[in-house]
Amino acid sequence: MRVEVDTDTCQGHNRCFTIAPELFDVDDFGTAVVIGDGSVPAELEDKARLAEANCPEFAIKIIE
């Protein structure tokens, strides 16, 4: 599993960084970025799904 953030759609609600700081970081403007290449270790798959399901702007994509 991989996660992707559409940085044009992201408005900096900061939900993904709160839910899964292992997978997402935020830059100086509060925009979300994926950590590394966005690969999700098996034990973090639930958190990745939760982050996707809580993004108010639908800016996170999960690729399985």
Binding site: G12, F17, A53
Partner: protein, 413 residues
């Protein structure tokens, strides 16, 4: 402490036909908001209209609110607080309180200046200060006798938290707390007063800010005001109007809103003992509870102005009509949320729009979230059991929250 005068001129009178003579600034609206939204959401066209304020529309479905929030081609942010007037026709690109009143493309430039001081990691550093402030307020409530003492969760607690934090961030005297609350009340609640009256109290706010800016010019210090005075766009410092307008935004948007969210959350806990007990015994649930407070009791309804005549799903909107963006109603739309009208303290999937949707996402959302979380944590840690006991007064206008919230303390930690 003197109380803010809660009375307001009822220019248009009470509402009997919510669909065709809508008015969000009559006291009944915020008192019965959940009921009114549910009634609209059960109809085929969840849109209210009104000739009040020279033309006003109010959509109540998540779909409509989402669509308008994203549509900067047909709707302008030059006016975001519905009132009896209209912004100047030839308003400067920044609008009176940038970036909330700015449209693309200037909006992004103005917004990027303010994002870094409100970024999550910068705001996180304020946590100890907010916690200390909350505990000071709880201490100041004096001796509490379980079962007997009544404290006001709004006036003795919620309303003092954001005002103190934003005054410290801006480098303004915290003794002026009462004055700031007065300004906020004038701008956000006295909306159905004649334009001349509004011009007069906006003038007082501008004069106060001019004084603070001069003081910062003479004595620069490490705060947001000095930051705004020094920050540059393409090598140019901001105009005085831009600096002052941004401070107006921070002051107005940062106070009433968070205070309302804290107050509504305390109201919920004071009327839902099971949720209070869960939070008191299982503090970890706060991660989810925080977002559920924000969803179920989002305090902020924004507004837009229609740019040119526009047919919106069959609604004939006219240029210069106001359009409300009731994010709190969108957050309770059964078409978007399961068990939408229920408060589910550990709701896992919660794609709420309490901080708005699209390019105007609340700049201070990280600060608001921190204040709400810490305020509720500290209150519940001090008073693990309390109940609403007495008359609750709700605000009027676009920001919804309790202004009087008598809570009987049943247990002290």
């Amino acid at each position: 402490m003197t109380d803010i005068d809660d009375t307001h001129t009822d220019l248009y009178g009470p509402v009997t036909d919510w669909a065709n003579d809508f008015d969000h600034a009559v006291p009944e609206y915020n008192e019965r908001a959940h009921e009114i939204w549910a009634e609209f959401q059960a109809t085929e066209c969840p849109m209210a209209r009104s000739e009040r304020y020279s033309g006003l529309w109010a959509p109540f479905s998540h779909e409509f609110v989402h669509e308008i929030a994203y549509d900067t081609d047909h709707f302008t942010s030059q006016g975001v607080v519905v009132n009896t007037g209209r912004p100047m026709i030839e308003a400067p690109a920044v609008g009176p309180a940038p970036p909330i009143t700015s449209d693309p493309p200037f909006h992004n430039i103005a917004r990027r200046l303010l994002l870094p001081p409100f970024a999550p990691k910068v705001i996180a550093e304020w946590e100890p200060e907010v916690r200390r402030l909350c505990n000071d307020l709880l201490d100041r409530m004096g001796d509490i006798t379980d079962g007997e003492s009544i404290v006001d969760g709004a006036t003795q607690y919620a309303q003092s938290i954001p005002v103190n934090v934003i005054a410290r961030m801006l480098g303004f005297p915290t003794e002026d707390e009462e004055l700031f609350r007065g300004f906020v009340h004038d701008v956000l609640e006295r909306i159905n007063e004649p334009v001349e009256e509004r011009m007069q109290f906006m003038g007082l706010l501008d004069a106060y800010l001019d004084e603070q800016i001069t003081d910062h010019r003479n004595n620069p210090r490490d705060d947001l005001t000095t930051y705004l005075m020094n920050v540059e766009i393409d090598g140019n410092k901001l105009s005085h109007e831009h600096v002052r307008g941004s401070i107006v935004l921070l002051l107005i948007a940062g106070i009433d809103t968070t205070w309302s969210a804290i107050g509504s959350s305390l109201w919920h806990l004071g009327t839902h003992p099971d949720d209070l007990s869960r939070l008191a015994t299982d503090p970890e649930v706060m991660t989810f509870a925080l977002e559920e407070f924000l969803r179920a009791y989002a305090p902020v309804t924004m507004a837009r102005l229609v740019k040119e005549d526009h047919d919106f799903h069959g609604c004939p909107m006219k240029a210069n009509d106001w359009v409300l963006l009731p994010f709190p109603a969108a957050n309770r739309d059964p078409a978007q949320f399961e068990r939408a009208t229920e408060f589910v303290i550990d709701r896992q999937v919660n794609r709420h729009g309490a901080f708005g949707l699209g390019i105007h996402r609340c700049l201070g959302s990280n600060l608001a979230r921190l204040e709400l979380k810490v305020a509720i944590e500290e209150f519940v840690a001090r008073f693990p059991s309390f109940t609403v006991d007495g008359d609750v007064t709700w605000s009027v206008g676009q920001i919804r929250g309790p202004r009087r919230l008598p809570l009987r303390v049943l247990a002290t930690s």
